[in-house]
């Protein structure tokens, strides 16, 4: 069965252990800022998994936008709203138990499904090592603009012809982001209290 450790598996186990560990820590920790920190660690190790799966463009994207942008936003949110509470926002014990039981059941179900289906089983070691290292940025860039590089050797003709690039969704997302930008700014804007609106006593 192959000679010696197959390194990608070792790193996969390492990163997934980190990701799941910190994800569980997020669920169980009570202090909001600690939750945010564990989430950062969990998402960073997921980015590691992306690198492992050969998608370093998406990994770098995750690090930059998701962890660098979204979570900083979240931490700003935590800072703006963190306040001394009279009683800790503790969910009563009962709900915890129900939650955990359903959670474990769901995980077991998904794992059973994952490991049973034959198509998703790992390929042989020789085959894995034969896969060539290819640049990942250029195909994604081209796919976003006008060509589907990866479908070049698609066997049947119709499929290859029919493959359209991701230009349209790319434009839609950019417009969508603009709309969200304005919407969020409008929602959280400075409340200008007009002189007439007198708050009742």
């Amino acid at each position: 069965m192959g000679d010696g450790i197959y390194w990608p598996t070792f790193f996969f186990l390492l990163f997934s252990a980190l990701a799941c560990g910190f994800a569980l820590a997020v669920v169980f920790s009570r202090n909001v800022v600690r939750m945010a920190f564990y989430l950062v660690m969990s998402l960073a190790s997921t980015a590691g998994l992306f690198f492992l799966a050969g998608e370093d463009f998406v990994g770098a994207m995750q690090l930059m936008i998701y962890v660098g942008g979204t979570l900083v936003l979240l931490i700003f949110g935590v800072m703006l709203t963190s306040q001394k509470q009279f009683v800790e926002m503790k969910t009563p014990a009962g709900q915890w138990i129900v939650g955990l039981v359903t959670g474990c059941a769901l995980v077991a179900l998904l794992w059973m499904a994952a490991f049973e289906t034959p198509q998703w089983q790992p390929i042989s070691r020789a085959e894995a090592e034969a896969v060539a290292v290819q640049p990942t940025a250029t195909p994604i860039g081209v796919a976003l603009t006008n060509g589907r590089v990866d479908q070049l050797d698609q066997p049947d003709e119709t499929l290859r012809g029919g493959m359209s690039s991701y230009l349209l969704p790319f434009e839609i997302v950019s417009v969508h982001l603009l709309v969200v930008l304005i919407g969020a700014a409008y929602l959280a804007r400075a409340k200008r209290r007009s002189p007439s609106a007198a708050a009742p006593g």
Binding site: G4, V33, D56, G68, V72, I75, F76, Q134
Partner: protein, 432 residues
């Protein structure tokens, strides 16, 4: 490196040792870099302020001063403030330190077929910018965890500043990527071979200007010089690391010097030709791969010295600015970012695109000479495809000896890239 060792050691040990050597080199680079910079900063600030700086500590120019600092920091007591969130307080410096060290993973020190790089990530620029963004977490946690109003002020200021300066920084970094045609730092470095006229900074006026915008944003994103709001001692006592002392404080400082070094390394590779010196000395002395490994190795070492030299020059300029200019106010810092840096970066980016569109592949100094030689760079993809396609089949059937691995990989890389570009051009013609 790992393949080279695989001939002598069992495979997994080879990877382990190669990894250890890489990490060792990087940690040394940053640690020694920090040591040198602390001493350099004292000397430069001394010279600027018409005094000598350390002279007597260990030897002639007081070069042991940093060691003395280090010992002092080691012996200082690491105290944790009472109300602090213990766990986050302890972890914060290490998060910020790891973030600034991780940036060195993808930075090459010498190019060519076997680049001197820890991990040849082909989205190098993107990876470095992403990791630099993570350093802000260390600061936020430090600010929040030390439970004092002043550190919270400092942390929030720094977070706002670094996050908002990532936008113009990214915009400026995209121009060299566009000119060199790839996110891979090694390719960007290799495009700038030969005379200094090939440097991307002289590629066209827009890129020249965007270099200065890049340098300002870089100084701001590592919190130096006029933008060092986070540890503005006149207002916030010492900003987010008020409560830190001893070793933890030194980690923050190593992180700051590390990210300053990595940002100037990036500047030197993206704009100032990286390992290609102003004059093509390696070609003149014949130190290229053509005549033997030893010559090639010396050529590479010259390249490494070149890169680090330029980076140290960049850091010296940052120090020089720091000791002359007063500090900006937080809203002025934000205003410069949003009102000046981002529009300027966008404008120069459009300028570079216009230049690239009208005179593809022509540099400012290359306007006079015939464009042939430069043309090859962009066309390199196509003829490589022709070469790769026919000689690829026989090669694939050879045995999977480890030694031939790199050349095949590079050819393959060219293949997919070239194929992609060809399709792009065909579609374009088809589309028009």
């Amino acid at each position: 490196m790992a393949e080279f060792l695989a001939n002598y050691l069992p495979a997994w040990l080879a990877y382990m040792v190669a990894g250890a050597i890489h990490v060792g080199l990087i940690i040394n680079l940053v640690a020694v870099g920090a040591l040198v910079f602390i001493w350099l900063e004292r000397k430069i600030s001394g010279r600027i302020q018409d005094r000598l700086g350390p002279t007597r500590v260990g030897g002639k120019f007081g070069w042991l001063q940093t060691l003395a600092d280090g010992l002092k920091l080691l012996t200082k007591e690491d105290l944790v403030p009472g109300g602090a969130d213990k766990m986050l307080f302890r972890i914060a410096p290490y998060v910020s330190f790891c973030a600034s060290i991780a940036a060195f993973l993808a930075i090459p020190f010498a190019g060519g077929d076997y680049p001197f790089i820890v991990q040849h990530v082909n989205t190098g620029v993107f990876f470095v910018l992403a990791v630099l963004g993570l350093e802000v977490f260390g600061v936020i946690l430090a600010g929040y965890a030390s439970a004092s109003k002043w550190s919270l002020f400092g942390a929030m200021r720094e977070a706002a500043q670094v996050v908002s300066y990532e936008v113009p920084l990214g915009l400026c970094a995209v121009v060299p990527v566009m000119l060199a045609g790839s996110l891979d730092l090694v390719v960007i470095g290799d495009v700038q071979q030969g005379w200094f006229t090939n440097w991307l900074i002289f590629h066209d006026p827009a890129t020249f200007l965007i270099f200065w915008v890049y340098f300002t944003c870089a100084t701001a994103s590592v919190n130096r010089a006029p933008f060092d709001l986070a540890e503005a001692e006149s207002e916030l006592v010492a900003g987010f690391h008020t409560e830190y002392s001893g070793l933890r404080w030194s980690f923050f400082f190593m992180a700051e010097y590390g990210s300053m070094f990595s940002v100037s390394l990036l500047a030197s590779i993206l704009f100032l030709g990286g390992w290609n010196g102003p004059l093509p000395i390696t070609e003149w002395l014949g130190l290229t791969a053509a005549n033997g490994d030893i010559a090639w190795y010396i050529g590479q070492v010259l390249g490494v010295i070149n890169v680090i030299g330029k980076a140290v020059a960049g850091v010296c300029v940052m120090m020089w600015i720091r000791w002359t200019l007063p500090r900006l106010r937080i809203d002025q810092v934000m205003a410069t970012c949003l009102k000046y840096c981002t529009p300027l970066a966008a404008a120069f980016f459009l300028g570079a695109v216009a230049w690239q569109w009208s005179l593809p592949g022509r540099t400012f100094f290359g306007l006079l000479e015939s464009p042939a030689e430069l043309q090859s760079v962009s066309e390199g993809w196509s003829d490589a495809t022709a070469a790769a396609t026919d000689e690829d089949e026989p090669e694939a059937s050879e045995d999977q000896t480890v030694s031939s691995e790199p050349s095949r990989k590079v050819a393959a890389a060219k293949l997919t890239g070239a194929a992609a570009l060809q399709i792009a051009s065909t579609n374009l013609q088809g589309g028009k």
